[in-house]
Amino acid sequence: MTDATASGAAPERRHTSLMTADKGTRRRNAAEARFRAYGLAAIAVGLAALVILLVSILSQGLSSFRQAYVTLDVPLTAETLDPGGNRDPADIASVSTFGYSSIIRDAVLNTFRNAGIEIEGLSEDEARGIISPEASAQIRDRVLADPELIGQTVEIEVLANSWIDGYFKGRVTDRTAELNSNVSPAQIQLAQAMQDAGILNVHFNWAFITAPDASDNRPEAAGLGVAIIGSLYMMLIVLCLALPIGVAASIYLEEFAPQNWFTDVIEVNISNLAAVPSIVYGILGLAIFINFAGLPQSAPIVGGLVLTLMTLPTIIIATRASLKAVPPSIRDAALGIGASKMQSVFHHVLPLAMPGILTGTIIGLAQALGETAPLLLIGMVAFVRDYPAAPPDGFFDPASALPVQVYNWTQRADPAFVERASGAIIVLLVFLLIMNTLAIVLRRRFERRW
């Protein structure tokens, strides 16, 4: 009978129908629904930011991969290009791009005549202004590559001026041209007539990826070639230095080092190094590698060393985390059958930690690829037009880097450079995407082996 009174001790808890939710349940369900809504909202905000970023970059930058070109009928007169008349390469090379100025004028007039386009109301210079100042260099390169062409009239495709190029990309209109001292509405009409006649074409621009940077007044000729090579060289240096050093340090700290105050200090400092602003590494690089060690400025070797210092903490932290994640039973198993500490680490633990290590390394590399600030301090922001040589000598030649090139172009006045900068960002993003894909592929591959 005492049982019966005990069960009546909690009279509030009445048995209600399961078909209707009680107050507490409703409150809990509402809280859960709210939390889901917050989560969805957070993801939506993140996705929206990503979409806006991509759309703005792609809409501004994709056009830099296309460029307006003019096909000129160039009369390569022998008297101008080879005054000696003996086709000596040294003689031909002694004619500078200024010497090609009359050739260009003749070529433009020649081309208009052949295409049947009348130049009304425009001076010869204005008509010539449709062609990029880079054109003389393009023609000269062509002649130097093939001196046999001298004396003939050759069809050569040269760059159009960036303002004309802007007209075909919608950056310049008749209205803005009236207010612009660099381009006139008459020139735009002429360019339109040239396109109609088929001597001006807008097509894919390989030079944007392969060509070196160009000066402020010829954005149409600026390319990423030197920056891409510089970035690749630096990534090579970072990979070759940071991966072995970082992995060796992590293995020592995680598997061999005794637990004492000294290793604790090292551990804390490594974590702190990962949070040090990257520009500090730039100052360090400037002080140590350039001022003290005497390495050349603007060189990929210095950039690579600085970025190695910056990437090391990332790689060490990722490697230690993945070493920690290997179950201790595997170490026991190896030790239990008489493997030495080193055998157990290198035969069993390290292979299991490999996917994590590779992912960490590639993420560290990607971070280094996008790093700008330390490179500015060591002179990578210099204007470099010569391609660096093949490695290892090329590591010491001046070069630029992709993010620095972006920074550099956004500093310039000509709006054509804004388009170039966005295009460079697209190239950078493509590289990062490739690296991340590689990280995922490697991870899958190594995981499947086990």
Binding site: P258, Q259, P327, S329, I330, R331, D332, A333, A334, L335, G336, I337, G338, A339, S340, Q343, H347, H348, L352, W450
Partner: protein, 265 residues
């Protein structure tokens, strides 16, 4: 019956494989093993029983110096393997572990092929001169592990793809492949079902022909079934050590009797 008392026990010293004298183990400030004296005989299965946390696994791990991997563990006293102190400064634990193999509580095959699991020990100890010899060692070990028939057609499949019982027998095969003299087993059947347990127990019985086997177990039935000698640990002390039949039928110590009859532990 008095000769079953630890101090009065007379052992044939020729037959002693491992002699522990006055062993103390500390984990930091915790005194985990107190004054343990035990002689483990060759070609015998010795069972360590006792409630959880009584130190039997700790003592087992002292025998092949696996406690070295724990920074805060400190061991005093002597453990002699064939009369040589294994804690002598000149002893390399790696060499010791090749002679004193270990099977762990949870099956822990390497995430490699079955073949590589067994071949790993012989390879690092240089027991095989060529592939044919290695094949032979692997087959012999797998046969001794009573798993050969089940895996002979898939030697290059992953060891982690086997069932729990198979994995444990693979681990035993891996341990015997290095030709140890003593085999330590830390609750080898705790993760296994009764059928797999029976297979492993049968295996232990066969292994004692070649090795001295020390097994830690929570199952008193198992200790009674497989062992010839039993040691009862309680709170870090070795309470009683003797022939298995005597320990289970006529325990001398009150605590042993309480544990065996299920009143403590």
């Amino acid at each position: 019956m008095n000769d079953m008392r630890p101090l009065e026990r007379i052992v044939d010293t020729d037959n002693v494989k491992i002699a522990a004298k006055n062993v103390q183990v500390y984990y930091g400030d915790t005194h985990a093993i107190k004054d343990v004296d035990v002689d483990i005989l060759a070609n015998t299965v010795t069972a360590f029983i006792g409630p959880s946390g009584c130190g039997k696994s700790t003592f087992l791990r002292c025998i092949n110096r696996m406690n070295d991997t724990i920074d805060i563990a400190r061991i005093e006293g002597n453990i002699l393997l064939d009369g040589e102190d294994i804690y002598d400064k000149r002893v390399d634990p790696v060499q010791l572990r090749a002679r004193v193999g270990m099977v762990f509580q949870k099956p822990n095959p390497f995430p490699k092929s079955i073949y590589d699991n067994v071949a790993y020990g012989p390879k690092i100890h240089g027991l095989a001169r060529n592939k044919a010899e290695l094949d032979e060692i692997v087959e012999k070990a797998l046969r001794r592990g009573a798993i050969w028939d089940e895996v002979k057609d898939r030697l290059h499949a992953s060891g982690t793809g086997l069932s729990g019982g198979q994995q444990q027998r693979l681990c035993i095969a891996r341990a015997v492949a290095t030709e140890p003299e003593v085999l330590l087993m830390d609750e080898p059947c705790s993760a296994l079902d009764p059928i797999a347990t029976a297979q492993v127990e049968e295996l232990i019985d066969e292994l004692k022909e070649t090795y001295s086997v020390v097994i830690v177990t929570h199952s008193m039935q198992q200790a009674a079934r497989v062992s010839q000698k039993t040691a009862f640990f309680h709170l870090g002390n070795l309470v009683e050590y003797g022939d298995t039949g005597d320990i289970f039928n006529t325990p001398q110590d009150q605590r042993t009797e309480s544990y065996i009859t299920g009143r403590i532990g």
